[in-house]
């Protein structure tokens, strides 16, 4: 549970540009900073699928290293997942939940590709 912030989050949610489409690597991940925060986001790009991009936290809760973007993207029974490159746990891209231990999850964000820009909703 995160503690309540002064302003209700829904009201301040806006789409913000994160990086260029060109920065993405097809069928794989890259990491980006969330502007003005100390949060790292892993962007997973699956061209040809809907949705074609996912954003989950780059921090791996099992190893405590910032490495999620460098894992292998795949699917388990059709459900897209990313495997942590260190100890290989799988996280669902849709909701960040760890397949091996459902009590653990990665934070997720709404993202979209708008022309040449990758946008994230914060």
């Amino acid at each position: 549970m995160s503690t309540a912030t002064a302003i209700p989050p829904t009201q301040t949610r806006t789409w913000q540009t994160l990086c260029a489409r060109d920065d993405l690597v097809a069928h794989s991940g890259v990491a980006a900073w969330l502007d003005g925060t100390d949060t790292q986001v892993a962007l997973l790009y699956l061209p040809g699928r809907t949705p074609e991009i996912y954003a989950v936290a780059n921090h791996d809760p099992f190893s405590n290293a910032n490495v999620i973007a460098r894992g292998i993207v795949g699917d388990i029974k059709g459900e897209p997942v990313i495997a942590s490159p260190l100890y290989k746990q799988h996280f669902r891209l849709s909701d960040g939940v760890c397949v091996e231990d459902e009590s653990v999850h990665l934070r997720t964000w709404e993202v979209k590709i708008d022309g040449d820009r990758v946008m994230i909703r914060v």
Partner: protein, 841 residues
């Protein structure tokens, strides 16, 4: 009606099995069960006790948890010794209390016999039976360099292996004229001794220890009958076991002449309120020092207690062991001295160090016993002949003679339904078939249902072959799919790629992947593959076509280490390992390594593979670092890939007074030839300049040792988790023959191995074994020789340093950014200084 009170004394393997059997037949409804265990630990797998020294801990050896007991209302009292049984009051007495019983079971097992030698109570005189014993040994070994095991039987040799594992110079002292006198005869004993001595364990037979006293150079001195002496730092007694029958003696139950609580066919002692099971029980004048008979007794005892009817009718003492890596098998009347008129057949190969003996009935029709030393490949088959009384072939000797087809096997088909597959849980082939008929579809569910192969594990291979065979007979395909995305094995994927010339993962997935669709999520979306099939296919594609793994089509398939061509460390940084072929390096290059390490603040270490590892680089630093290294003439070392790693060398004839060939030159030639080759698992090589073997070639996938006339080639060795000596494959090869043989060998491995299967494991699973491999590679029995060589030549011709390729391509370099929208380093990577270098904080 109030419940009867049942007390079980002893929570060892058999006591625990009894509890399981009681639960299985619903006994907790009628009995209030209390279990007393003297040890601190809940029942654990004593059979695999030695694994406590090779990586397993008490938890993983445990057979159950306290919660399992509690869940069935069983009162488990560990670390609580029963000190007496009061049969008049029907009570057991512990140190602190008295507990009434209606029925009582003795499952107290046995204790290691320590011969009455003066000095046997000195400090660092230990035994080998419990987890606590092993802790004591480990502690005593800390400041010891030598160890002696008194007793050269089964458990003694196991203890010797443990001492070796603790890095002690180890000796075994046996009273009898040979090792394992119970299981093997003089010839087998000699062979066993040679093999064990070759492992560096000293063997002293015919030695009675007279006394143990303080040593001069070591902690102890052992003095033998002839006043000879042996100094050692610690002693483990393993001179046999004795039943723990003291409680029974004290309350005047009937005891055998040489110990053991006498039981009848229903496991009842002379007092029908009391039963005994396991190693403490004496049935028909015999103690059974193995777990399988104990389990059978437990089953019988459970039936007796719940008014079922089952009887114990004796048990087979056949054993199949691997002691210090040496196979030993004894079946039935292995010595041939129990049946009049029995005839024996013997086969001894002093070169391969194998000995096999058959004992057959006077008419030659039935197998009465067998003895194997050095190779247990024939054990399962012989055991089936023996246990099921199958008629022997006309020439029984054929069962033990070497044959080009490898060890003879009795197909699962030939076994009758009554054949016992698993003696621990008494499971027959018929039982297995029944579970399959009832709907079990794979090995795991057969194991769950019947519990076959969950005891000592000795029947695993046989069970699998029966299950596979029976499933096939029922038209069920045995699923060997690599993962959910392909219904193929790695070998099949390899052939598909080769035959159809498929060059990308997506094409392979499209043509041969399982159909998309089932499951949750976006069900109509195309499948993506996963972290199992992607790297496996990437490796196959690289071995076949050798396109750079950093090409856009291949990069998402790679494990992170291959993607970034560096090994990821636990904090997300990477290590850099340039290739140093054969370990030879110029001073100039060494200086460059030093300069790069210093400039980028990298921790620097000499590796076990004769090269230098630079640790702690962040993702975005890798291109700069490699730019400088490549400038200085280095290439990538593939330390990150399932690929050729290093070719270790010794200095060889150029400098060494013993060298007979230029081992450095050959090592460099091999490393230059096979660098960049991707394979199912990593490949390590070594070349030694003479038989002194300073390069440790016999622990490598490919080992080369110089001879006066050329090179001896060894294959399929392994260090690591499960070390395996490489096997001599071909002798006195000239340079060109050597290279051609290695080309073929490696390509055949790449073609047929499973994913992540090193050459050692591949070889162990290869049907037909080393002989078959020789046929294929040396004699070209499959006619594949030219093809394999050509495939290797393609990989060699298309080699390109992956790092050089990447540095010349701006598109590929984009991947090496810690963050795509900012050039800051990762602030969470914090280093601290230790011994003058940085390490992760």
């Amino acid at each position: 009606m109030s419940k009867q009170r049942l007390i079980i004394i002893g929570n060892g393997m058999v006591g625990h099995h009894l509890v399981e059997q009681l639960i299985a037949c619903g006994a907790p409804r009628d009995y209030a069960i209390t279990v007393f265990g003297e040890e601190r630990h809940i029942a654990y797998d004593r059979v695999h006790l030695s694994e406590y020294f090779s990586g397993r801990d008490a938890d993983s050896l445990a057979l159950a948890s306290a919660d399992d007991y509690a869940a069935h209302g069983i009162d488990l009292r560990l670390h609580d010794t029963v000190t007496a049984i009061d049969r008049d009051a029907n009570e057991v007495v512990t140190e602190s209390d008295r507990h009434p019983y209606d029925r009582l079971v003795l499952a107290t097992g046995s204790y290691p016999f320590v011969p009455p030698i003066p000095g046997n109570d000195r400090e660092k005189c230990l035994v080998y039976r419990t987890l606590d014993d092993l802790d004591a040994i480990r502690e005593a070994a800390e400041d010891a360099t030598t160890g002696v095991v008194v007793g050269g039987g089964l458990l003694g040799l196991e203890a010797a292996n443990a001492l070796r594992g603790l890095n002690l110079d180890t000796a075994v002292v046996e009273f009898a004229p040979r090792l394992m006198p119970m299981q093997v005869d003089a010839e087998g004993g000699t062979l066993l001794r040679e093999k064990i001595e070759a492992l560096g364990v000293q063997v002293l037979t015919d030695r009675a220890t007279q006394r143990i006293e303080a040593g001069e150079t070591s902690f102890h001195r052992m003095v033998f009958q002839d006043d000879k002496m042996l100094e050692t730092d610690l002693i483990v007694f393993s001179a046999g076991i004795r039943p723990r029958d003291q409680l029974a003696r004290d309350c005047a139950l009937e005891i055998g002449e040489r110990g053991g609580v006498v039981i009848d066919d229903r496991c009842l002692t002379s007092d029908p309120a009391i039963l005994a099971v396991g190693e403490v029980a004496l049935w028909n004048q015999s103690i059974f020092g193995l777990v399988a008979p104990g389990y059978q007794m437990a089953k019988v005892a459970a039936a007796t207690l719940t008014e079922g009817d089952a009887t114990f009718t004796g048990a087979d003492m056949s054993t199949k062991l691997k002691l210090l890596g040496v196979d030993v098998g004894a079946i039935g009347d292995a010595h041939g001295d129990r049946t009049p008129g029995a005839r024996t057949f013997r086969y001894l190969d002093e070169l391969k160090q194998e000995y096999r003996k058959l004992v057959v009935s006077s008419d030659g029709k039935k197998l009465l016993g067998a003895m194997l030393v050095g190779d247990n490949a024939t054990y399962d088959t012989l055991m089936q002949y023996y246990a099921n009384g199958l008629a022997l072939p006309d020439d029984p000797a054929s069962l033990i003679l070497p044959s080009s087809e490898g060890a003879p096997t009795l197909g699962p088909d030939a076994l009758p339904d009554t054949a016992t597959l698993c003696s621990c849980h008494n499971v027959t082939k018929g039982d297995v078939c029944a579970t399959l008929d009832a709907g079990a579809l794979d090995l795991a569910s057969v194991k769950d249902e019947t519990r076959a192969s969950t005891g000592c594990g000795g029947c695993a291979a046989l069970l699998k072959s029966v299950v596979d065979h029976e499933l096939a007979a029922r038209g069920v395909e045995v699923d060997q799919s690599i993962c959910e995305h392909f219904a193929h094995t790695r070998q099949e994927l390899y052939s598909l790629v080769r035959v159809e010339g498929i060059k990308t993962f997506s094409e392979l997935l499209e043509k041969h992947g399982t159909t998309a669709g089932h499951g949750l999520g976006s069900s109509s979306a195309p499948k993506l593959g996963c972290d199992i099939c992607k790297p496996a296919v990437a490796s196959i594609l690289a071995a076949c076509f050798n396109e750079p793994i950093t090409d856009a089509a291949h990069v998402p398939l790679q494990d992170t280490n291959d993607t970034f061509m560096a090994n990821m460390q636990k904090n997300g940084t990477y290590s850099v390992v340039p290739r140093i072929p054969g370990g030879e390096i110029t001073p100039e290059k060494l200086i460059v390594l030093g300069e790069v390490g210093k400039k980028y603040g990298l921790y620097t270490k000499i590796t076990g593979g004769q090269r230098v590892d630079l640790f702690g680089a962040q993702l975005h630093q890798l291109p700069d670092i490699w730019g400088e290294l490549i400038e200085a003439g280095f290439e990538t070392g593939h330390a990150y890939g399932k690929a050729t790693r290093t070719v270790k060398s010794c200095v060889g004839s150029t400098w060494c007074r013993y060298g007979v060939q230029d081992s450095v030159g050959m090592a460099i030639r091999l490393e230059e030839r096979y660098k960049g080759l991707r394979s199912p698992h990593k490949l390590k090589f070594a070349v030694s300049g003479c038989t002194r073997e300073c390069a440790e070639a016999q622990s490598k996938d490919v080992g080369v040792i110089a001879t006066e006339h050329g090179w001896n080639l060894y294959v399929c060795g392994n260090g690591g988790m499960r070390p395996r000596h490489a096997e001599l494959f071909a002798t006195d090869l000239d340079d060109e023959q050597l290279i051609r043989t290695i080309d073929r060998f490696l390509m055949f491995y790449i073609r047929t191995a499973d994913r992540l299967q090193r050459t050692s494991v591949w070889r162990e699973n290869l049907e037909g074994g080393l002989d078959y491999l020789k046929d294929v590679v040396l004699d070209d029995s499959l006619g594949l020789g030219d093809e394999l060589e050509a495939q290797m030549q393609h990989v060699i011709d298309t080699y390109e340093c992956e790092w050089a390729n990447t540095l010349s391509n701006p598109e590929k370099l984009k991947r090496f950014r810690t963050f795509v929208n900012d050039s800051r380093p990762d602030p969470d990577i914090i280093a601290t200084e230790e011994r003058g270098q940085l390490r992760p904080a």
